[in-house]
Every structure is written in structure tokens, then in C-alpha cells.
Amino acid sequence: MEISSTTLDNLTLGAYIVASVLFITGLLWLRSPETARAGNRLSALGMLIAVVFTVIDRDIVRYEWIIVGLIVGALIGAIAARQVQLTAMPQMVAIFNGFGGAASAVVAGAQILSQNDTGDVDRVVSVTVALSVLIGSLTLTGSLIAFGKLQGIVATQPVLIPLRHVVNVILVIGSLTMAGLLIFDPNLEWALIAMAVIALVVGVLIVVPIGGADMPVVIALLNSYSGLAAAATGFVIDNPMLIIAGSLVGASGLILTRIMTRAMNRSLGNVMFGGFGVADSTGGAAPGANAMDRPVRSVNAAEAAILLGYADSVIFVPGYGLAVAQAQHQVRDLADMLKERGAEVRYAIHPVAGRMPGHMNVLLAEADVPYDELKDLDEINDDFRRADVAVVVGANDVTNPAARTDRSSPIYGMPILNVDQARSAIVLKRSMASGFAGVENELFHMENTMMLFGDARASVESLLSEMKEL
């Protein structure tokens, strides 16, 4: 039996146009938090229309399998979406990406296997099958590893395999060779399988060496891949719906990837293959030697609370440490207390703070922090010099002034939050351990910086109780 959209009903194609408009409108409505929720529902409606009209298309002659798949998938998806802790959102997004990629690869693979039975596979189809299976497979395993790292099952530290670049090159050549064989002769089913297996391995090897702080880039990229895999599958089965929706996602993921790499002042290649923060621990740079000579000033919660108690303007600077310590509710309570005392409170969000794009925003939204108090880097950076106190909660590299001044620093050129320009800074931190980039932070040694050591949540709690005493 042949499958090709040339046999899809006109009604089905019409429904695809409606669904495409709904997807695009839904994405447009994501430009504002006020319309975003409705936009997401519009997009879901588009998906429902696309699915319903595909199912009733006259090409579909067998329903039992479809129904089984739909029920099983919907149950798992709904339960997962309801049960997941909002703090586990990065790994949730990662694993959904992986499933999407896997589905694309399987559809493309099934298509070529079935066409081989009827003996009419053309070149174009086999090229797109190769693309779809390659991208889909590496999206699957890459996402699984990302999930494992975010969940803490796989080592979050970058794992560097010896000769990994050589191994990667060999594997890439191997998978491209298999792809070439498949395009040359679509009947070579073993080449299809070998290609898929190699791509699965490549997915693992690409993500394993990437450290936790680079996760926002990886997740955005995998997001893009899951879309591109769907688009490639659209070429395979000649279905415009897949091409349109897949491309929208592919473009979206690429834009996010670019925003993330820009916010780190690094190239995508550097993130994927650089092994940042491990290989370069030469320590020879000793940036800003003068600043580093000054001992850090460690304070207790009472001293910090006094400073906060008399501040008129406070900026919180959250980082991944906030997510680890689950301190978002306590920070919100502290902010409420400061507001009651008449202070202006805002939050400065660095684009790559956390483990996925927008991580801090979701975390703080969960703690009921209004989104208009969350400010982007560009929006708030000039306000630090007018702020009485900047409170850094579990952030490090994104506050390091060396990024502005020290050309020898590995993070030189990265846009940072100007915490050092605030009248005072209180840094909540577990220990003096350096951040992901393995660079000492000059901020901690500055005259107007106080270090409040300990778990972020415990520290904020003791700040709260000390504030009550004031």
C-alpha cells in the first residue's frame, strides 16, 4: 500500500492550513505573558485539528494500532506533566524532545521499509529518510543523556573521553557512509539500521562531555533538532503539515540557541566541542591580582540583615544555586518583607542563569513572584549603580567583573550583571569554590561585598528571622 500526501484528501490538506495558522498565531501570542496561555491552547487546538483530520482521512484503513498508541501516549504524557515537580522542568523538556526525535526517526524508518516491500523508493525519499533517522536518533540519545545529567543520574561534570574528537570524526564518517549507501540503494536495510545505531552513539558522545552550566545551549539545540527531524520526516512522507510545524520549531530552537551562546560570548562549536571549564584549569592567568589579594569579608545573617533592613532599593540576582537549594519561596518571602519596609525589590535575570533558557523565570513564577519584577540583563544593568544592595543567590560567573575588564580571563567578553556597581553586595554561596568556568570571581574580594556562606535556603531563612528582629 502506498502512502503519500498526493492521496491525502483535500479536506485533510485544508485542515492542515487551519492548523498551521493556529500554530503560528499561538507562537505570536507567546510574545506576552498576558496572552501566552491562550496562545498555547490555540496551538494545542491546531494539533487536535491536524490529528483528527488525519485520522478520518480515507488513507487510514486501520484504527486499532492508532488507538492503542494514542491512549498509551496520552496517559503517559498527562501523568508525567501533572506529576513532575516544576523544578524538574529542564529534564522534562529534555526528555519530551527526545521522544519527538525518536518518533520522527521511527516514522521515516517505517516508511522506507514499507516502500521497499512495494519496490518503489526514489532518491529524494531516501535522502530525507537518512536525514530524519540521523537527526531523530541523535536527538533521542542526546536528550536522554541531558535528562540524566539534569536529573543527577549521569555525572553533571563534563566527562571527557580520551581521543573523543577522533572517535567522533570516525563515527560521523561512518554514519555518513551508511547514509550514502542507503541513498544509493534504499533496499539496504542493514545500512539503515547501522546508521541509526551510529547516530544513537553520536548523540551520547556529543552530550556527555558537556557540563551543567552549558545545558541551556544543549536543550535549546535539541529542541531545534526535534523540529528539524519532524520537518525531514515531512519530506519523507510528503506531508506539508510536518514540514511547516517542524520548521517553526527548528527555527525557534536555533534562535534560542543563538541567544544562549551570545549570552555566554561563545560559539556553538566552542560549547559543543570546547570542554570549557575542565581542560583550561591552567590557573596561570591570575586575573586582577590586586583585587584577589584582598581577603573576602564573611558576615553572619545578622550583619547582612541590618544592611538589608535599611536598603531602599534591592536587586536579587538568582542563579542555579537557587534552584539547587529550592530557595525560591524563601527569597519571595524575604522580598515581601523588604517591600513591607518600603524598599523597591527587583530581580536581575541573566539569560543563561540556570539549566535551560528562562529557568529562573519559571522557578520564581512558581514562588508567585510577579513577572514584571523580573528584569533582563539589558533592562536592569544600569540600575545596579543606583541599588543599595544586590543579593546574589547561587550565581557566580555571570557576576564576575573580570568578564568586562580582564582580557586574559576565559569568560572575558561575556555579558555580566553589574553587581559590583551596587553600593553593597551580599553573596549567598556554599563555599569559595569557583563557578563552572573555573575562574575566581573578583566580586567576592571587593570592598563592598559581603559573603554569607551556607546553603542558600538556610541562609535566606536566617536572614528572614534576623529581619524580623530589626
Binding site: 507562537l27 507567546l30 510574545r31 505573558p33 501566552a36 496561555r37 496562545g39 498555547n40 496551538s43 494545542a44 494539533m47 491536524a50 485520522v55 486501520r62 484504527y63 492503542v68 494514542l70 501516549g73 498527562a78 508525567a80 513532575v84 522542568m89 522534562m92 523538556v93 519530551f96 524532545n97 521522544f99 519527538g100 518518533a103 516514522v107 517505517a110 521499509l113 514499507s114 529524494v124 536543550i219 535549546a220 529542541n223 526535534s226 523540529g227 519532524a230 520537518a231 520526516t233 515531512g234 506539508p240 510536518l242 514540514i243 517542524g246 520548521s247 517553526l248 534562535i255 534560542l256 541567544i259 535551560m356 533558557p357 528562562g358 523565570n361 519559571v362 512558581e366 510577579p370 513577572y371
Partner: protein, 99 residues
């Protein structure tokens, strides 16, 4: 697929990339996570392809691969939209009550 069909498909692809680029460029950083999980749900559109494979390809292998693909894509779609909705429900301004 003939060359004409390929070119039409390529035109659709290129235009959709453009639309996606122009649409998403102006999404504020506050909404980057919902954008990602919401667009991720859209990439579950491959569910349409999975349904076509599961519902029309002859043979047991096609059916099995089809049902696996339908299930995976459905997890992606249902989970993706629900989790995005859950996140967006939490976003609120300082001058409005929590929804």
C-alpha cells in the same frame, strides 16, 4: 516525489523557517522556557506521520513501528502542552491575583 513536488516542499520549508524566525525573535526572555516546551509540543506534529504509518502500512513490522511512533509522539504532544499550560498558569503581574 518528483522534482516539482520537492521544490514545492522546499518552498514551504524555507517560508516556514522564515515565519518561525520572525515570530520567535520577539519572545521575551521571561517566556523562554514556555516557548521551548510549547514549541516542543508542536514538534510532536510528527504524530500525524505516525498515524499515517500506523494506519496504512501493510505488514506487522509497519504496524509495530507505527504504534511505537504514535505513542512516543503522543507523549510529546500531550505532555508538552499540559506542562506548558501548567507553567504559564503561574505567570502573573504584581497587580493581579494569582490565576
Amino acid at each position: 516525489m518528483s522534482i516539482e513536488e520537492l521544490l514545492i516542499a522546499l518552498a514551504v520549508f524555507v517560508l516556514a523557517i522564515f515565519v518561525g524566525y520572525l515570530t520567535i525573535t520577539r519572545v521575551p526572555p521571561t517566556l523562554h522556557t514556555p516557548l521551548m516546551s510549547g514549541s516542543n509540543a508542536i514538534s510532536g506534529i510528527v504524530i500525524v506521520g505516525a498515524i499515517i504509518v500506523a494506519g496504512s502500512v501493510g505488514g506487522l513490522l509497519g504496524a509495530i513501528l507505527g504504534v511505537v511512533a504514535v505513542a512516543l509522539a503522543t507523549i510529546n504532544v500531550v505532555g508538552g502542552y499540559l506542562v506548558t499550560d501548567r507553567m504559564l498558569r503561574m505567570f502573573h503581574r504584581s497587580d493581579e491575583e494569582r490565576r
